[in-house]
Each structure stands twice: as structure tokens, then as C-alpha cells.
């Protein structure tokens, strides 16, 4: 028997949360990927570079999370155990570089939920969108992730 999920959270907006980007977190993230570009890791080289400081790698906004708006919260809302999740799709749009020391505001919403038959059985697709803005209210990045729930 496939499980039921709470599709009523389609359209739900989570509380906006601030994230202050730590210099060390950018470096830890780049090193975990094995991307050793000096523009992520070397303060001195980056200082002389186009941004005057290190910037974050393209997928770094995936680290922006908050207890009231993270995957755990979404799972509780859906009524799903974490072991059923797969990552289906992910997209980032970048409008400005993400810099250490800056505080960004993240707004997440459940943009869509739909069900489909997969290769190994029925699946639900949950699309979550996060808008990241800076202190001037400019959109810095848009993050769109599709989580697959094995029903």
C-alpha cells in the first residue's frame, strides 16, 4: 500500500529567515566538494580578484536553512519519513555574488506537489522555491528544489 502525503501544504509559505554567510563555511563547503579554487579559499588572492574577497560556489545556497523552514519541517508537514526521500531536481539562479559577512533573507514556499508513477512505484514530487534577498532587498539567488517521495 502506498502511503498518503499531505498535499494540502501546496502553496504554503514558510517564515522568512535570515542567514549570515560565514567565511569559514564557504571554505568548508568548497573543500567538501573538492573545489579548491582560490576565489573560494584564499583570502589574499581573492582580495586582488574581481570581487575584492572570496565568494561562494554556485550551489552554496543549499546550506541556507532554518529550523522552521528546513527539510525536517517539510517532512513533518507532509507526514513522511526521511528514508523515503530522493532528490529529484535542483536549480539555482544567481543575480549577485554571495559574499562572506553578508546577511541574506530567505523566503521558502511549496510551489507544487504532484504524484506520478515512477520506475519503482508511485512517487510524489514536492517543489520548494526559496528566494534569497540581500539587505538592499535585491534578489541575489533563486533556489528551486524537487524532492521525490517514494510512496
Amino acid at each position: 500500500m502506498p502511503i498518503q502525503i499531505n498535499t494540502a501544504i501546496k502553496g504554503k509559505e514558510y517564515p522568512a529567515y535570515p542567514v549570515t554567510v560565514e567565511r569559514g563555511k564557504i571554505k568548508e563547503f568548497a573543500r567538501a566538494i573538492g573545489d579548491l579554487s582560490p576565489f573560494y579559499l584564499d583570502d589574499e588572492i581573492a582580495k586582488a580578484g574581481p570581487w575584492g574577497d572570496i565568494i561562494a560556489p554556485p550551489t552554496f545556497p543549499i546550506t541556507f536553512r532554518d529550523d522552521r523552514a528546513d527539510t525536517g519541517t517539510m517532512l513533518r508537514d507532509l507526514g513522511v519519513d526521511i528514508g523515503r526521500l530522493l532528490h529529484g531536481e535542483q536549480e539555482f539562479e544567481h543575480f549577485k555574488p554571495i559574499r562572506p559577512g553578508q546577511t541574506y533573507l530567505c523566503r521558502s514556499r511549496i510551489a507544487d506537489i504532484y504524484e506520478k508513477a515512477g520506475k519503482s512505484g508511485p512517487m510524489a514530487f514536492v517543489v520548494r522555491e526559496t528566494t534569497v534577498t540581500d539587505s538592499g532587498n535585491d534578489v541575489v539567488a533563486l533556489v528551486r528544489g524537487t524532492t521525490v517521495v517514494r510512496l
Binding site: 566538494i33 550551489t59 535542483q90
Partner: protein
């Protein structure tokens, strides 16, 4: 040449991305990525949990492989060039797998205004050592003109 500045004039439709071959996936890298990203889903750390969840064994965070794909673009076209990156996770990456990121330029667009950057669209994919695609995706990168 790895961090050389790439100009729009250097990037042509059909140009192939230099393949990025990453070292074999090790558990320690998944643990490091969990810490760095904040994604502590035990399915990437705990073989017993992964087995009980019907996945056989642990597998890599899709986001780790997407990080590899992003690196393949920035190694080629420059850090800060990526305007858009979207992927579909097509297959699981397991311990010991060697992920190779590949791609090519499929379109090139002139600046909308006089001084803006050129935009290039890329088709991207990552495959394992058996040649099976684990990621397919697209990207748009901004490149300055030499002129």
C-alpha cells in the same frame, strides 16, 4: 590555465567542456559534505539505515554531484560566471564511484545592452565509471567580451 579568464570570443557553440574527473567517492567525503551542507540525512552515512530504507547501501548526496557539475563549469568558464544551473538527478552515486562531468556550449547570445556580458548556454551531464548518466542538466554562464 585553470583559472585563466575566459572571454566570450573564446567560447563557441559546440565547444566541449574539459571533462572534470573527480576522485572515487569515499564515505569520509559524504560525511564532510553533510557537515558542510547541513544535510545529515542518515541515508548518506549509515549503511544499516540505507538498507532498511530499501536503498541497499549509502549513496552520495545529489548535491555533492551537483557541486562537481558546478565546478566543471567554473573551472572552465571562471568562478562567478554561472548565472543559472539546473540539474536532474538521473542515477545514484555509490561509494567507490568515479564521477566525470562533461558538457558543451549549445548557444551563445550577445549582450542585451551595449556593455553587458555575453551569455552562453551549456548542456551538462555527469556519468559514473560505467558511463551511466547520474546527472543531466543545463547552465547559463556570463562571459565578458574582449572588445
Amino acid at each position: 590555465m585553470k583559472y585563466a579568464k575566459v572571454y566570450a570570443e573564446d567560447a563557441q557553440v559546440g565547444s566541449e567542456l574539459p571533462p572534470l574527473v573527480k576522485p572515487p567517492i569515499q564515505q569520509i567525503q559524504l560525511t564532510r559534505y553533510a557537515g558542510a551542507s547541513g544535510d545529515f540525512n542518515p541515508i548518506h552515512q549509515d549503511a544499516a539505515f540505507a538498507k532498511a530504507a530499501g536503498m541497499g547501501d549509502v549513496f552520495a548526496h545529489g548535491m555533492l554531484s551537483m557541486g562537481f557539475v558546478a565546478q566543471s563549469v567554473t573551472d572552465w568558464l571562471g568562478v562567478g560566471s554561472v548565472r543559472k544551473l539546473g540539474v536532474r538527478f538521473a542515477g545514484l552515486v555509490r561509494l567507490g564511484d568515479v564521477v566525470t562531468c562533461r558538457g558543451k556550449i549549445v548557444a551563445k547570445r550577445p549582450p542585451k545592452d551595449g556593455n553587458g556580458p555575453w551569455l552562453v548556454d551549456l548542456e551538462l551531464w555527469a556519468e559514473n565509471q560505467k558511463g551511466e548518466k547520474v546527472i543531466t542538466g543545463k547552465s547559463t554562464a556570463a562571459l565578458p567580451s574582449r572588445a
